[in-house]
Symmetry: C2
Subunit: 310 residues, 2 copies
Amino acid sequence: MEEKVLVIGHKNPDTDSICSALAYAHLKKELGSNAEAVRLGTPNKETEYALDYFKVEAPRFIERVEDDVKEVALVDHNEFPQSVDNIRDVHIAEVIDHHRIANFETSAPLYFRVEPVGCTATILNKMYKENDVKIPSHIAGLMVSAIISDSLLFKSPTCTEQDVEAAKELAEIANVDLNTYGLEMLKAGTNLQDKSMDELLANDAKVFDMHGENVEVNQINAVDIDEVYEKQEAFEKAIEAYVEEKGLSLYLLVVTDILNSNSDVLAIGKETQKVEKAFNVTLDNNRAMLTGVVSRKKQIVPPLTDAFKA
Amino acid sequence: MEEKVLVIGHKNPDTDSICSALAYAHLKKELGSNAEAVRLGTPNKETEYALDYFKVEAPRFIERVEDDVKEVALVDHNEFPQSVDNIRDVHIAEVIDHHRIANFETSAPLYFRVEPVGCTATILNKMYKENDVKIPSHIAGLMVSAIISDSLLFKSPTCTEQDVEAAKELAEIANVDLNTYGLEMLKAGTNLQDKSMDELLANDAKVFDMHGENVEVNQINAVDIDEVYEKQEAFEKAIEAYVEEKGLSLYLLVVTDILNSNSDVLAIGKETQKVEKAFNVTLDNNRAMLTGVVSRKKQIVPPLTDAFKA
């Protein structure tokens, strides 16, 4: 048997990170590699819904890459702080991603494929075709779930024509109606009832190095923003303690109304004025409404990074 | 007319950087973009031979990206220190490369395609096919020249099956015999007669950030290593002054015997012991023979970077 290859999505995994890890591991296995999908955290409610629907087990959880692993493939991320803790000690052979490139470095060449599309699964859909491998129905289901999740059912400005086309193709293979299935899956993800404060804060949080400052941005999807902010005081206390513990310059909680495509953000930390500068808003009670903003990657991280630049 | 897009190869351009810039600009123009190939330095003798043979003008020289340029595509490099001086102020929309990834960062997603093949032109050959664009004979000639150059006529360990296949296809379109044309082109590049010391030292030099230390590695192809080292004393003086001026920790001159596939290196700077450590050799009169070593990318940079790590 060939040596082990792990396919790894990012920490605080979202649906794309879990499903694209599974989909890419499947493709690699079909091509003869001893690949296994793994995860760096607990699947969220939305992802659970998708896994249950298509009757697929979640990838195995790992805390670090084991010594007997020959190489790893990263999907849906490239920044080391978002990856497995011992990422600097492993051989990264491949990266398939759709995010900005930063905090990534290798000493040898590799296969690195980043495209400005809305979802990793859209790139994987091409790779299945390029390699002439048929996508099984349950894998297609996971892939279309990832696209629906990342594009908020095609409403996000990160969504491209390629994502829409791929989703249509995959929905047909998976035998689901895009709108019906998509809305059900997104709604499953907005259920915050049985989540602890710690779980909410880790939810979909990503750490970014913005010109030397550590900034964490967490996004929570909701159908009712007010319901989420009923807990604002508890959020603030928990975030303040977390910011202190992790030495963050800024923690930004982004609560996104998935039906109306707005985000109500809560900013905590010594650099909250960077949020005001980035989005030209004034924080009131630590919060601000960002109209039409739904994409962390395209509408939040770039202006916020620029605000830290000057 | 659509806004300007520049296709840029690295500083101290080699044949791949010049020819792939021309080949990718041509592809982009065919796809409707207002693209122009540019260069960041003087083409070397080998590249001149290829340009003359296929009757193509060298790309336009630029010192910095002009303000009216909308976006740039980098070919054959991704590290900012190897790119145009104002690279941090321009919009990088695409990268097509085959090197390690380091010292690269964007605030937004982009099309970033790095593959572990021997030459950028090999990736471009695929992209022409993917986009269903026919390669004109003179562009195919430039592309096959790039592959011959980077692979030292398929002798380098960086050379993959894909490079060999692409070169065969392109040689047919360009109507050249691979061996005859390839050897003539490589030999044209070994002619050091009319080069000044400054030209020799800038020849094919690249600067690498190795764990915080600035290291410059320059490669000169030769058919007779001894002939090159007739000038050893003059080299050393010039390099010492250069190391001082640029604040380098190490300058490594790699003189590669293209017929016998060995390299005789000359190391200058305060970190020369890193060369001994990386290659398990002892420098004698500042020099060491690295048997079977011909590839800077695959056989020199990775072990040298590792030597700086510990």
